[in-house]
Symmetry: C2
Subunit: 554 residues, 2 copies
């Protein structure tokens, strides 16, 4: 179960945790960012305290509360302000903006913590009878509004169904290399349970520390090392989902041709069909060796071609992550520590410049891991040779080390920048190789236009984070100065322009963040009107009274 008391209620991650920058470095970064954004960055208004948030009193009738308590136990039904606020939003930029201003649009009437499948079914029944919506809530790290307590017209309110008490490892099948978990298990607990037995799932999305197995399945999550371990859709064998109409369970077999594969109705279902309570996943022997390194390319196009080649050669790397020129430059800025006299990276880069890796250069991270040191070394050698042949300049292990150190920490930067009035948002897509270069340029141009129009200034950059035989994902980051008092409207305008640009480039609405409420308006463009209608038909069949997570996805 996630200990939410140890987490920031209005920001990312654990209390006391951060990007760990020195004060001097922080000041230098802010100064440089301010220069680029054309304004002096200073600490802005303090975010409000939790108890300053005015929540409407919970509207649950005593008998409904009693029924919920009968199903989930006394401690399994909570209505404190802390519980309601921490289950009122996810962790998108507008979520944080709202929390910091203390302006939550809606909060759940109560948070329920069922501890077994029967209790989940009971909650759905009670909610249907009491005319309440149910919002499945795992780690709560959605960045697309996927856990907002919305209600359908006529509903009296919403319950947040916190799945994180469903966190046990039910069985491990060493022969088949699969593990069955209750789906509310969070990333670190899942890896700890597997690690003790010598296994790993290998699924490490950036939200790893604050997300759950069920959430990964519900959002079609992709981990940072999906090249090696696969995305959650590759890792899922079968699942159990409690819907208002009963349980959907898929079969524990490696493959089936018995009609459409129902796992793929559950993957990406974002809680609109039911609550994922159990899942069997493919596991791997725990990696005891890992090697991650950097490489520099003269241009994004060169780097993209190199990434494609490594994949096509079948080299079993775990990760290939290519920053574009803007991101490469900004990450060098963030890395620079003005207090350090000698900076080996700076020296290497100035040498690189003389070799033609100057303006427009792009940094690639590549890595391999596994249980066999010789095999990891062989993979890294093969990858390095390919990459060098494709124009790469090796940067050694330092970039890999800092990636691994900070892989789950980058989101902390966002809160720190918000403190100084700078917004950070990310959007992502996937494109075929043949449209990746043009798509990158068009979307980047649109993002630059959007921040200029709606914020007067801003930075936009991207990296390629997941690659496939036929294409890759692009992950865009924007930074822009917040317009005080109009933060949400400003974000909405930028988001609209960004999403329009992604759709216009032929990219998918999301490679791994999901749809939630933020991307929902574009779903008919993505799936076609009839495709959406087909999914709505499934929804009606399993949730005829519209209890499950209204307003999301469909």
């Amino acid at each position: 179960m996630i200990a939410r008391e140890s987490l920031r209620w209005n920001g990312w991650g654990r209390l006391g945790e951060s990007m760990h920058m020195t004060r001097t470095r922080e000041a230098a970064v802010l100064a440089e960012l301010g220069r680029r954004l054309g304004r002096t960055l200073a600490r802005g208004a303090e975010p409000v305290e939790l108890d300053a948030i005015r929540l409407p009193p919970p509207k649950l009738a005593p008998d409904v509360l009693a029924q919920l308590r009968a199903a989930c136990g006394e401690d399994g039904v909570r209505t404190s302000a802390f519980e309601r606020v921490t289950h009122a939003v996810g962790r998108s930029l507008p979520d944080l903006l709202r929390l910091r201003r203390g302006e939550i649009e809606a909060a759940p009437e109560a948070v329920v913590y069922p501890a077994e499948e029967g209790a989940v079914a009971a909650v759905l029944r009670i909610a249907a009878d009491a005319n309440l919506a149910v919002v499945p809530f795992g780690g709560g790290s959605s960045v697309v509004g996927g856990v907002e307590p919305r209600t359908a017209p006529g509903q009296a309110g919403a319950l947040a169904l916190d799945t994180t008490r469903l966190d046990r490892l039910l069985r491990l099948d060493p022969e088949s290399r699969t593990a069955t978990f209750q789906a509310g298990v969070d990333g670190p607990s899942l890896e700890a349970a597997l690690g003790e037995l010598g296994y790993t799932l290998g699924h490490f999305p950036q939200s790893f520390e604050h997300s759950t197995l069920g959430g990964w399945i519900a959002t079609r999550s992709a981990g940072q090392q999906s090249n090696g371990y696969g995305s959650i859709d590759d890792l899922l064998v079968c699942a159990r989902v409690v819907t208002p109409a009963g349980v959907i369970r898929t079969l524990e077999v490696p493959r089936t041709a018995s009609g459409p594969e129902l796992n793929h109705l559950l993957l990406g279902s974002e809680g609109v069909f039911g609550v994922i309570v159990e899942a069997t996943v493919r596991v791997h022997p725990r990696a005891t060796r890992a090697d991650d390194r950097g490489m520099l390319f003269r241009s994004f196009a060169d780097g993209v071609a190199a990434v494609r080649e490594v994949g096509r050669a079948g080299i079993p790397v775990a990760m290939l992550r290519l920053s574009d020129a803007s991101e490469t430059e900004l990450s060098l800025l963030l890395r620079k520590d003005p207090a350090r006299r000698f900076d080996p990276t700076a020296t290497a880069l100035s040498l690189a410049e003389r070799l033609g890796y100057g303006a427009g250069r792009c940094a690639l991270l590549y890595g391999a891991e596994g249980g066999d040191a010789r095999q990891v070394a062989a993979t890294m050698r093969r990858a390095r040779n390919r990459l060098v042949r494709a124009g790469g300049l090796p940067l050694g292990r330092a970039p890999g080390r800092s990636w691994r150190r900070d892989r789950f920490r980058t989101p902390y930067l966002r809160d720190w920048l918000l403190d100084s009035g700078v917004a950070v948002d990310t959007m992502e897509t996937a494109l075929p190789w043949s449209r990746l270069g043009a798509g990158h340029e068009a979307i980047l141009r649109a993002l630059q236009g959007a921040v200029a129009t709606h914020a007067g200034a801003g930075l936009a950059m991207a990296h390629l984070s997941h690659s496939y035989p036929d294409g890759a994902s692009l992950y865009f980051t924007i930074l822009y100065p917040l317009e005080s008092g109009r933060e949400i409207e400003q974000w909405r305008a930028i988001k609209r322009d960004a999403t329009d640009a992604i759709v216009a480039a032929g990219g998918t609405l999301s490679h791994h963040h999901g749809v939630g409420v933020d991307h929902q308006p574009w779903m008919a463009r993505e799936k076609g009107a009839l495709g959406v209608e087909a999914l709505r038909a499934v929804k009606r069949a399993v949730d005829p009274r519209g209890v499950m997570n209204p307003g999301k996805l469909l």
Copy 2:
């Protein structure tokens, strides 16, 4: 377009094509089989001629025919006995039994050959208005009754919609390595079109020569070399499907997290939602080198463990196919040529026996292919080393050569055996590694019991044909003497026992044959009642009047 005039109307494959055995070898095989089945096998009753089949006169009203002709052209609407009979059944054992006796349960009123997407949509409209069912028909090689012209209650008849005029390569994207075809293209035409451009799809199911891209997608087909190239679900990027309610099209992107992946509603849809008219698939550079070899194991368990190890070591073989002891022995019998004095395989096997590879021994085929001879050789070397370490005894290239020669020819054996009153049927499933051994034994025992009970005698055997990180498929073959006059009832009783045993072992109803009408009664066991209901809801949304392929799948 498939030239059906050159094919056997009541058996497998091309006229004049066969397993190519000499007369003496045929006689020897029949004698040995007869001995095992406890009866003398002799040529039985001749199958009837096509013109002896009495078909009900087509019931289409002249104005419906005129509308269909307006949509598909004069030559695109056919009502000859040849067309109706060749589109009345697939190629399952009961299909052949019925054809040979001339007792077809139903025939389509007409066969339509739309040449473009608009014509497909028009046919669905005309059919809905005329109260007709539409049965999509590609290669017609279904072995589960997937193309039978069934009608829903109240429907006046069925049209077979032959897709094979939709057979053009629309575009090749060399950068993304994808190709877009009209989905009625058959295997050889697809490979010829790709081959000219230096590519291959690498999808070679046993029905390859007589099946289509759309059929592969509709049935979640798996090719013989799926270890290397993936199954059709791995190869599909996106598709267009014409349904009675409009077109469903999926996006041409390598991956998406925008809700449930609609490709997986189309994969395995068996024509009940609509007609797959177009698909984009991942292609590979054409293989110029292939190496396939044999290996012997002391037991099925040893062989299974070895297959699992090769997969886990990440060795990029294209195929791993392990026969159990019964299949190994029978395939040796089939291979034996009494006219040949010196049989190198026999010599090798008697040597093997002295090394402990005697009763219970199992033959494995493994192969690799690609464009790089050095890489193929390295893969085969790695595989060989792993297999030998796991107890394998190398049998060299001869078994590989005969597999490649006969890979699409084995089905011809069935017609030849039917001529002598011996039925051959196959059923297949997939299981996790941890349940594979017990499942193999239990299903085999059930099959032996079924043929003993319902045919008085019979043989049952199996091979493992496709493997995955967490399990593998098992493909069972049974041979039994036909009871003249009760062939269909006999088959039905055996099929029921076999399917019950597969389901009881926890296996899937089908790893790659599909559901059709033969497996439909078990679908609620496979997917759960609510899972089936969810798919039926999709069906109602896209086909509200129930035009598409009634009686199949759901």
